[in-house]
């Protein structure tokens, strides 16, 4: 891994005609130089493509079952085998990736929507706002996450709210997002606190900019790099949170498959049919590694001082 100084020297070597480059271009070049990060990006891209085009890629639909060929081990006809109901396990895995990624992206989105504005407000306003946000953060940290998610999910999926939250995939994503905003909030707050005394903020303020303008135009763009990294690393955590809920029987309803649910369901029959556990676990591990490599690569590319 190259240090920032070395990278800069190379960019400005004399035998090249000088051309001004934006910070973004520099970051992309630093990113492209890391093999592990590129490999991660490739994995993530393949999985995302598989997820998006699942109906085309998968040999059968996720609910198509053939009971006559249930519990088959992997073969040419069924590369990943079949499950106890006779689903083609390759199709289940591909659609599982689709569900898990959907949950992951949505959950991270929700976490950003809650955490970033709260962190911004706390960091910028300080005082009472800060106290209230920090209190909420403390309460959320002290509260057992799984309990919060379980109860929230039960509340959301039943009773009055049932009509409002009809889609279980959406429910699970929202609940995971609402449970995992704390890290993003603390990160944003820390960033804003370290940025808010900079000269350009004072300059903007003396020109009469409002708090909102300062936050959105000046502070947020500068706080983005560490947030991108945090978001990349939150994805696999969200994917596994769905798996955890599935383990407790609270995840996504049949017949929609998700990687977490497939692993959880394989528990009972894994002693006989190993393939039911292997393929979803492999897919989830690949996704985790892909996102983590991309996140680490972004950390080095966007924030050269940190490493």
């Amino acid at each position: 891994m190259e240090t920032a100084a070395a990278a800069t020297t190379r960019e400005f070597s004399l035998d090249r005609p000088t051309r001004s480059r934006t910070n973004f271009e520099f970051a992309m070049r630093r990113f492209a130089r890391q093999k592990l990060a590129l490999a991660g990006l490739l994995i993530v891209l393949i999985l995302v493509l598989a997820a998006v085009f699942a109906p085309i890629v998968a040999p059968t639909g996720y609910a198509d079952a053939d009971l006559m060929s249930a519990n088959k081990f992997p073969s040419w006809d069924y590369p990943f085998g079949t499950d106890p109901i006779g689903h083609n396990y390759l199709s289940r895995t591909i659609f599982g990736i689709r569900t898990s990624f959907l949950v992951g992206f949505l959950a991270v989105g929700v976490a950003c929507l809650v955490g970033v504005p709260l962190g911004l407000a706390a960091g910028l306003r300080g005082g009472f706002t800060d106290t209230v946000v920090l209190f909420a953060v403390q309460v959320m940290t002290a509260f057992p996450g799984i309990l919060f998610a379980m109860f929230l999910l039960s509340v959301v999926t039943s009773g009055v709210l049932k009509a409002l939250f009809g889609n279980q995939v959406l429910n699970v994503a929202i609940v995971i997002g609402v449970t995992s905003w704390v890290g993003l909030c603390r990160l944003t707050r820390a960033q804003i606190i370290s940025l808010r005394e900079r000269e350009y903020v004072t300059a903007a303020r003396s020109l009469g900019a409002t708090d909102f303008q300062i936050a959105v135009r000046h502070l947020l763009p500068n706080a983005v790099p560490p947030l991108i990294i945090a978001v990349t690393l939150l994805m696999p955590i969200a994917i596994f949170a769905e798996a955890g809920l599935s383990f407790l029987g609270l995840g996504i309803n049949e017949p929609t498959p998700s990687l977490g649910k497939m692993i959880a369901d394989s528990r009972s029959s894994i002693q006989l049919y190993w393939h039911l556990g292997v393929f979803p676990t492999l897919a989830i591990a690949l996704a985790v590694l892909g996102f983590a490599f991309v996140g680490d690569g972004l950390r080095d590319a966007l924030d050269p001082r940190q490493n």
Partner: protein
Amino acid sequence: MARYILGRLISLIFVLLAVSLIAFFLMHAVPGGPFDVGERRLPEATRQAQLRKYGLDQPILVQYVKYIWHVLHFDFGVPFQRPTETVTSLIGSRWPVTIKIGIPTILVAYTFGTFFGFVAAVRQNSWIDYLVTTVGTLGLTVQSWVIGIWLILLLSVQLKLLPTGGWGDWKHYLMPVAAYSLAPMALVARYTRVSILEVLRADYVRTARAKGLGERRVLLSHVARNSLIPWVTVLLPEIPNILTGSIFIESVFRIPGLGGYFATSMLSRDYPMILAVTLLIAVLWGLTYLLTDILYTVLDPRIRLTGTRVKV
């Protein structure tokens, strides 16, 4: 210092109140009460009698105030799953099992994690560094129960070395501890690696080398000591998590500990048990954070504690 600690304790009390309030209301908002879940479908009259017996027929706010009043007298009520015991005695008999898994887990995770992180940092960008980073990344995100399932498949089903689960002799410890310690171990390794890399570039390390000290001496007495600070601040708070056990580990390996009970309590709406365990986790969490902040000043005298926790 005393003033600071007092202030923190008071704020902890407010956090606990908020936690109990949220848990209480969320719990009651979940459809289905403790006496109409699953198989225990009781005749309506009996159900009403049960509800009256436990005071569940009263307005929820009254119930909450009463509950807090009892808790202040260390009375956590009676678990609905086992009406002959009290919550305190049930936790008292289950928690030791969880702690017996937790302590070896902490020892394994922190010893090996520190070691791997140290080796990875000293040999930065070598194959061992990449191995530690990759396995660490996986360990941090792949949940313990997935690892547990695979350990059972490999060691119990295929090789028939260890029992698939249960509780008794030393054989029952190995797999749960291995599965459970991977995530904290990865975390410890990751942070140790980063903080040692940082210290390795510090001026006093260069000075120590310039003085002609041997590499071993530099690493042990200059580097290792000073990389302890992130260790305390980031890693100490993991300990209460481990000590209160994992729902997943305990149900995969069928360990009769607190975590498993917590899961069944949640599913069967055992209100007193849920609240007690939640409060227990929150108290442990709060005290560890306070301890962390105090240790922080002891380790780095440049840091002074003033007002509320500013460090993020």
